[in-house]
Symmetry: C2
Subunit: 488 residues, 2 copies
Amino acid sequence: MSREYRYQRLETWLLDGIAGKRWAVGERLPSVREMCAEQQLSKATVLHAYQRLEARGLVEARPKSGYFVLPNTATRAVPLTGSDTVVAPAPVTVSDVVMDVMSRGAAFDILAGLQAQRRPAQSFSEQASLDENIAEASNAGIMALNRSVGRALRSQTANAHHYYDEPAGDNVLREQLAQRYRRYGCERSAEDFCITAGCQQSLFLALMVSCQRGDIVAVESPGFYGVLQLLEQLGLQVVEIPASPVTGLDADSLARALQQWDIRACVVTPAYATPTGANLPLATRKKLLLLAEQYDMALIEDDIYGELGFLGRPDPLKAEDKTGRVILCSSFSKSLSRDLRVGWIDAGRWHNQVKRLKLVTLLASSRFVQQGLASFLKDGGYDTHLRRQREQLRLQRDQLVNFLDEHWAADIRFSVPEGGVAMWLQLPEAVDTLAAYGAALSKGVVITPGSLFSSSDHYRNCLRLSFLHPLTRARQDALKTLMGVLSH
Amino acid sequence: MSREYRYQRLETWLLDGIAGKRWAVGERLPSVREMCAEQQLSKATVLHAYQRLEARGLVEARPKSGYFVLPNTATRAVPLTGSDTVVAPAPVTVSDVVMDVMSRGAAFDILAGLQAQRRPAQSFSEQASLDENIAEASNAGIMALNRSVGRALRSQTANAHHYYDEPAGDNVLREQLAQRYRRYGCERSAEDFCITAGCQQSLFLALMVSCQRGDIVAVESPGFYGVLQLLEQLGLQVVEIPASPVTGLDADSLARALQQWDIRACVVTPAYATPTGANLPLATRKKLLLLAEQYDMALIEDDIYGELGFLGRPDPLKAEDKTGRVILCSSFSKSLSRDLRVGWIDAGRWHNQVKRLKLVTLLASSRFVQQGLASFLKDGGYDTHLRRQREQLRLQRDQLVNFLDEHWAADIRFSVPEGGVAMWLQLPEAVDTLAAYGAALSKGVVITPGSLFSSSDHYRNCLRLSFLHPLTRARQDALKTLMGVLSH
């Protein structure tokens, strides 16, 4: 953090204040003069921070009056192009581009695989050395994790390899998970969890137990393509519910859809949903839970980004679940490592079915990995890592926002999420990001076109951009290359 | 092997001779006198060995003539009680006992979990010290494997945790697999394989891509309960095809079933099928491949015991597959460790669908585990381990056979497999092993009742017994306890 500029620190402090309601929507921020005196900062620094907030669409500058807090606290207003109406349920067909994107590590990196995994050649520049520092801090956590898993591997009893893991997974790890979720308002115990091979497998299990072939499932639009893929493979029908880049799934649209169709499950990402980074307000959460009860519908909660909130960890939807209709799905892939292949599911009323289905389709999970993880959690290594990881992601989000502000055309709009790993970018109507996929790839740039996030023909002029990786020179160049490709 | 008795060495040599056709079916073995002279052994030793072969049902003693080789070279004749006719396809319903058994590590150990994982208290007795020696030799392989996986874990590049494994799995590991299968007559390359989370997941993928809900699947009877469970969960119908404890699935019965019903897939375990340990003769293999082509049916080959042949590794069915209709499924769980959670599938014409479905339901596998495994294979660690493991399993099979011969009632019959980890035991008609499950469990004995291996009401008087673990005093006591329970 030592490399953070004064204006950035002020900006962060202001953001926290806005998010924490120190200044309500419509309220005036302290004047530049007041702020200079209060924070012992130069006028240039304060102005820079205020203008950045304005550029993000968080505050509005009123001539001669000052800066006022705008309603959408964490985004430029990204309109919902093309999906403000709900289309009748239909089978899912997703283009092969999704498979290509998924096979390239879900395209959280704009650089194609091999290129990205090499350390950047520009590591002597100031920017790159900052990136390295950030990366080192975060890697310290991974190294500690690996030591923990390595210890578990070495300490396995001699003939442990003759036995399978218990069907629900390692009990110590499940106890650790239960403890974490109790912090976030969920009254859960180890027995409520079932360990899986990752969040994607949890979502698969959730859909398998709550739906039958041909059933209708509601999803966010734009929403995670992995879910659309699952629906397609399981022969389920999809109804896409409009989701705001700021406040996520629109509960009123869902209510109307429920009146029309027999929707058996709704997949929702309450915290930092991909691709937008939206966060469900409390009121929406309550509405969703009521609808689930009213229509006897499963709420499949994708909680994979929950731990990555820059301003704290929002309570999961599961915390308010009184009737066991929320199926909580998550994993360590986004918050810790994609290589552990350990996720979990808390399936409420479907718990026994899930346990059975997991046993039958997967048999077991790796015990030493679970044991290593459990120790890592118990020793506080995970919390330490999360603090660094969130800080790093916030810095990287800022790098990306700044870069877009400075280098990209003025007519783009994007969300500025307060957590997660990605933002949603809207380009002028004429741009077709799906059509540009191949051209970008041929120049070593992997993009996730907006169309992937819907099974209808929406979001052709949109794009998900990730800030999971430091914005090295190589990635800046890739973004510039992409700009060139998209402007043709 | 230093602890092996002379009669055991002779018996092994004779077994090899019979299996290798040194003496054909119906031929007379050398007389006791000839054998004594030839092998420099006492008459008692030779007689002991001959009588053991007789007890196994491998040779027949004809008064005044000598010992003659019998037709079934690797078993006591275990009749197919109750399943010699094919019953019409039906949905699968399997009792909760299966879930209980699966949750107890698939009951390859007659001792309940915790008890078994403790080292036996009787380790000072001669028998136990023999077991320990055997176990140590096998554990050396596991320790080497763990070192290899640990090295892979430590050598991961700093930010590797940000990337998912490639969809088909680690390329080096797939190349190693392809090389192994080329040894066994399969002309395969790394591109033909997809890494999975174990054989059970491979079977799941195979059924998902080759069948649709409601389709009919043929299975061996008796056959693996994990497959019956999968069929139930996927809403598939089962038709059980009689399988001999010696020669496995009866191809003629399958042919008749195919004339009657539209069977989309047949799950078959050509090598050391559980529960019997049967091995498909070449003629049956050829018939199966012809039927698959004639009826456009998928042959799902469960190859999980293939590497555990005491007299060598039988070629997989896949070796003869010219039309891509064989889906080869396997893993390292039986031959190496159940805790790796690494399996594979070579799905022939369904390869792309499998890759896609794996990506969508599991996303990825753990790279460091795959890398560690790949090195272990490359360095020859796996082959060394397999040699020890087969030797150990053969000794343990003999321990179990001897124990049954000496301690159990004369009216039992059992198969004596030449590979794998389990044998099939048939008790008198009146015995109900399923009913005895609870009573046995209450005394710390876990059994796998015969009924689990069929979805009809067959095999109530049968039992699978495993020789995966050394027959320690504790396990001998458990077997005696079981005898008591079953005789009530």
